[in-house]
Symmetry: C2
Amino acid sequence: MSANPTLVNAFRGGIVESSHRGALAIVDADGGVHTQHGDIDRPIFPRSAVKVLQALPLVASGAAERWQLTDEELALACASHGGEPQHAQTAAAMLAKAGLDVAALECGAHWPYYDGSIKALAAAGQQPSALHNNCSGKHAGFVCLGCLMAEDGDRRAFLKGYIQPDHPVMREVTSALQASTGYDLTQAPVGTDGCSIPTYAVPLRHLAHAFARVATGVGLSPGHARAAARLRAAVAVAPHMVAGTGRFDSCVMERLRARVFCKVGAEGVYCAALPELGLGVAIKMDDGNNARACEVVMAAVLERLLPLDDADATFLHGLSDLTQLNWNGMTVGQLRAAPVLRGGAGTP
Amino acid sequence: MSANPTLVNAFRGGIVESSHRGALAIVDADGGVHTQHGDIDRPIFPRSAVKVLQALPLVASGAAERWQLTDEELALACASHGGEPQHAQTAAAMLAKAGLDVAALECGAHWPYYDGSIKALAAAGQQPSALHNNCSGKHAGFVCLGCLMAEDGDRRAFLKGYIQPDHPVMREVTSALQASTGYDLTQAPVGTDGCSIPTYAVPLRHLAHAFARVATGVGLSPGHARAAARLRAAVAVAPHMVAGTGRFDSCVMERLRARVFCKVGAEGVYCAALPELGLGVAIKMDDGNNARACEVVMAAVLERLLPLDDADATFLHGLSDLTQLNWNGMTVGQLRAAPVLRGGAGTP
């Protein structure tokens, strides 16, 4: 297997100190490859980057309407959030609408990603709950879907084990993933995600195609197409819910709103839907680095593809070519998208 | 430039989810290469991995004796510590012995690396000081050296700007680095480290050679040889000072004591001295990943090189082939040293 190309370089003292290899696919709604770097046909685990695909049944089933979920709540269903107070409260509100509470969540608990919330919890002498889990909104969405599916039955009993691949809720979720990616998940490698649901390995080509479908509705069932548009609109209204303070997804969408839907996944994965261009983007960094690798690649992709005014171009360039400071605030280096991302359209 | 080999793989669902490339040099005190993987002649920034080399003048100058530094204090001078109470207190004690306090430190302040100390500070409503900076012990060592060099002069005035390359203290430190690595630093790329002192790019071959010299004393001046032995002995007594709770360096040396001196550096660097084998080890991961890449490589190297009883072999194997759990405590994957590290001696 030949090595994927270097997509990001970290400079210090004028030389490359570290670098990040990876692969990138940009695909249109017909499956045509717009840009390709590296191996886009090897199945990779998309992790949390596909939460919007996993949330399609929540809307398409009518559950979002049944429980009158707000934009904030639908955005949280697509989120890997920082466990800030509004994230935890919104997850709790979703569960309450379906008549349940935090006990219904099967994602496990962890300390918030957001530094300020760790300190606030510690200062208050509190421990985190499953509501602070970065996936609590996605799981609250699963619970809302399950409560609709349970009909008049015992909701708690029906939901038990909803994280298992063969549970009716997870079968709906997996079915939406298969339909949107067009990839046969029955043959795909399957792993367990951080929040305990299955994650299926899908090639970047198919992930980018799925996001082009999310961007356009083309190739999706009418129900999924409406759901995708509804979720994109919700996130454009409430981008803070998708990630949080200072986080890339929220910062980019607070600025560009409905022009971009982007979502990070663990282990260096990034997906995006670009409605005005009808394109989907999927990135996987070989080393699994998120914060400084796949985000820089995504910023460079957006900078290159989207027509931008000067202010937006400057904003994105600040994310694809970052100055690195040390503890004394001295400039010590730069983090830069590799030249290959600035140049031509890439191989075919 | 051909790609360095994959040294660590992260598995999930039975497939490689992410992987880490890098280079490794194992060299003897005469400069003979015992093992080589990847490019060991490209200069790389060693960052904090060379703190023991930077601490040689503290001992060789007589400053450690003059200020009656303890094992704990000498170990802290070689540390990238977690900012735990005993780390911050020990740095303060070093400064007090030289008649100074935290105001003398020019490393900057940051929140402790150790999670428990972040929460404890937040719970107490406190902010971190320069004593919590992971480099505070190294800087306290620079201050102790400077206070000896200042003789009867104004210590504070003499020390001002000790982080600058041309300050007498930093010239001593750089001179020790040059003497031990045998690499011409006047021609080397130079960057600024996180704690604001210069960092010089040195090939892994020379870094490994320096650590073989630290392991044996061979090739060092008598003063540096005695200093290296003193620092290794101090760290073997007080390994908790070098890193902290749950950290690789401390855990490995708490177990193997004087058999190993190992030290991590930022951006995926690792160096070690193995006295009983007369070997030095130097690792650089291309992607700069520390916690899960260069540590796994170092564990595999130690496992392979050192004669071990079953308990120590099991301990190290647990660090070179790790089970990964998710938030619910389910096994979701493995982090494993690549086969190339288990096999032959590597290319020459």
